[in-house]
Amino acid sequence: MAEIDSEHTLTVDRILAAHAGRPGPLLPVLHDVQNQLGWIPSEAIAQIALGLNLSRADVHGVVSFYHHFRTHPVGRHIVQVCRAEACQAWNCQATEAHAQKRLGVDYGGTSADGCFTLEAAYCLGNCAAGPSVMVDGKLYGRVTPQRLDTVLDDWSKR
């Protein structure tokens, strides 16, 4: 099954053209591809490798190194739960457990309704008002299990 259609191929080509001549272009290219497609399909990896004169192994090696880059399709929204020390001091374990239970998935998984992909984060920089959660780049502080429900209820309608 083709993971990437011709429209996506054009998108990746446009991104490669936009970064032409830039020093060290691989990470900016990967960011743009993921921002526009939601993830980085294997066909895009081959296309990027060709466009930047790298081997597919080089690009795959970079994609797989960084936690941020995803090689699987994701839900409509990305939910990141911070599990670093400062949030642990605010008992983020309860928030984590609640997120996993409500969405029915472990980290990396997508809820059955396709709405949310759950990811672990190691510090969102909101350490004075944890536990912290980020949904599609919007940050929330003091996220108890109850507040998480309010936040996710809101996002599930979007």
């Binding site: 060290g24 990470l27 990967l30 936690h67 941020h68 400062a86 920089g125 350490c127 008002a129 944890g130």
Partner: protein, 510 residues
């Protein structure tokens, strides 16, 4: 005339509802107010903080103001700065703020972060103007004389790094800002970049002028989208006003800046792996030598400094090295933006001269634990920092004093835990974090951290006696001395400090 009202656009304020409060203010009183989005004053427990300009032109604070309270507050006379239970008075008169020494953070929370005019009106670009009248060696000497040491955690003298780059004779040099603030409990880089990004832009420009670099990169972690927006707005504003570009302030010197996003790898806080990442590679740590100052980004001489180090340079150039050096103690000169995090009543940012004790920070500023239970342990300096017990809370914040107790100041993040914390669990987490974030290049870190997690699991399950602790000690020694960089080399700090100071948690039968 419309009343000027200030609401923070800082991510931490937004996380507590500042956007909704700002929207409610505009909806209810849009015609009567001029709303200015500023950085955060650093008192996170009072966010969303609203400041109103009174008849005398003073800024009167109210907080925390939630969106649903706005109508009632306006009815009570918010626009006239009238009395109200949420009225706090002038921020500068509040003890938390009044006791600080704000040099690097002088403008944060006060000005519109991306307005060049407001930046200049508050002393901005005076440092660069002075630097442009000096030669490179004089600028570097000024930074050296200030005593500024790397605020990212390694505390290496900034002036020495710059001097090495200055001495290289190549066509291309770079200035790189390490904005990969991955340490848990730290957010001063984020606050500075969101609250006064032009200060970082100016600091990097001065570095470029000093060493002869024409291009700078800010390597920003992907978890900081708000900072990315602020930085890009600030860079565009600076460029349009001639503070960046081919001819900086008409000096004939070129310097320009670009923001590059990281991709969720803690290791990129290590400077050589950051450079690998900027070049588009897996962020594996490089062997040293050569130093980045000699062979850095794309093989060229590179100044690479933390956000706070670079953002401290403008005030050093503006007021002179002696002014900055006169703050602090021992060999730790100047101020440190300290971040109070975790289980504290009054978490936030405190910029103080070195020498303040942990106890003052935790109780006088932090107000003790938020839960009301005793503070049992604090971790200073991020996930690679030691856990410190109550008996050592009188240690002054000073690089050497912390080294003497086997701890580190690092980036100045302080995470407090109350007495419900299980220190064996925290030691296991330190190993788990190292395993998740290891770049994989060296064996002690890559394998050692995984073996460390397994061993901690057996210790926690009560399957190991003293033998398990001995084995853990041995493993930590191997990681400490055999790892290529600080990740594997310093993970033993939290682990062994937990074993040393909280032994009972490791011996408990479960």
């Amino acid at each position: 005339m419309a009343t000027r009202i200030y609401v923070s656009r800082d991510a931490a304020a937004q996380a507590l509802g500042a956007d909704e409060t700002a929207a409610a203010l505009l909806a209810a009183a849009g015609a009567e107010i001029e709303l200015v989005r500023v950085g955060s004053r650093g008192m996170v427990w009072l966010e969303p903080l609203v400041e109103v300009t009174d008849a005398a032109g003073q800024r009167i604070a109210y907080g925390p103001v939630m969106a649903e309270q706005v109508t009632e507050l306006l009815g009570a006379g918010l626009l006239q700065a009238a009395p109200h239970p949420l009225r706090l008075g002038r921020v500068e008169d509040m003890p938390y703020f009044a006791k600080q020494e704000r040099l690097t953070f002088a403008r944060v929370g006060i000005i519109d972060p991306v307005s060049v005019d407001e930046y200049v009106a508050h002393g901005g670009y005076e440092g660069l103007k002075r630097a442009l009248t000096l030669d490179g060696a004089t600028i570097v000497q000024e930074v050296t004389d200030s005593g500024l040491r790397g605020r990212g955690g390694a505390a290496f003298p900034t002036g020495i790094k710059w001097k090495t780059v200055l001495q290289q004779e190549t066509a291309q040099k770079y200035v790189v800002c390490n904005a990969d603030e991955g340490d848990s409990g730290t957010f001063s880089d984020r606050m500075l970049m969101e609250g006064d990004p032009l200060c970082l832009v100016e600091g990097m420009t001065i570095a470029g002028v000093a060493v002869g670099a024409t291009q700078g990169y800010i390597y920003l972690r992907s978890e900081y989208p708000h900072a990315q927006v602020a930085l890009e707005q600030a860079i565009a504003a600076a460029r349009s006003r001639g503070y960046l570009g081919r001819d900086v302030c008409g000096s004939g010197k070129a310097f320009d800046l670009e923001v590059r996003m990281g991709a969720g790898a803690y290791i990129c806080g290590e400077e050589t792996s950051l450079l690998e990442s900027l070049e588009g590679n897996r962020a594996e740590v490089r062997y040293r030598p050569p130093l980045p100052a000699i062979k850095g980004l794309f093989g060229q001489p590179t100044v690479i400094n933390n956000v706070i180090s670079l953002a401290s340079v403008p005030v050093i150039l503006q007021r002179g090295a002696a002014h900055y050096r006169d703050f602090g103690m021992g060999r730790s000169r100047g101020t440190l933006p300290i971040q109070l995090a975790g289980n504290l009543l009054h978490g936030g940012l405190v910029e103080k001269a070195f020498g303040v004790t942990l106890r003052e920070l935790l109780y006088d500023f932090g107000g003790g634990s938020a839960s009301g239970r005793p503070i049992r342990a604090v971790q200073v300096g991020g996930p690679l920092g030691a856990y410190i017990p109550e008996s050592q809370f009188d240690t002054p914040l000073d690089y050497e004093a912390f080294t003497a107790i086997g701890a580190l100041v690092g980036h100045g993040g302080i995470v407090a835990f109350d007495d419900t914390v299980d220190m064996a669990h925290m030691a296991r987490y330190a190993m788990e974090f190292c395993a998740a974030e290891s770049c994989g290049k060296c064996t002690p870190c890559r394998i050692g951290s995984t073996r460390g997690v397994e061993l901690m699991d057996r210790i926690i399950d009560g399957k190991e006696g003293q033998g398990g602790i001995d084995q853990l000690t041995d493993l930590c020694e191997t990681m400490q001395h055999g790892s290529l960089c600080g990740l594997g080399g310093m993970t033993p700090f939290p682990v062994m400090s937990a074993v040393k100071h909280f032994a009972a948690d490791f011996a408990r039968k479960r």
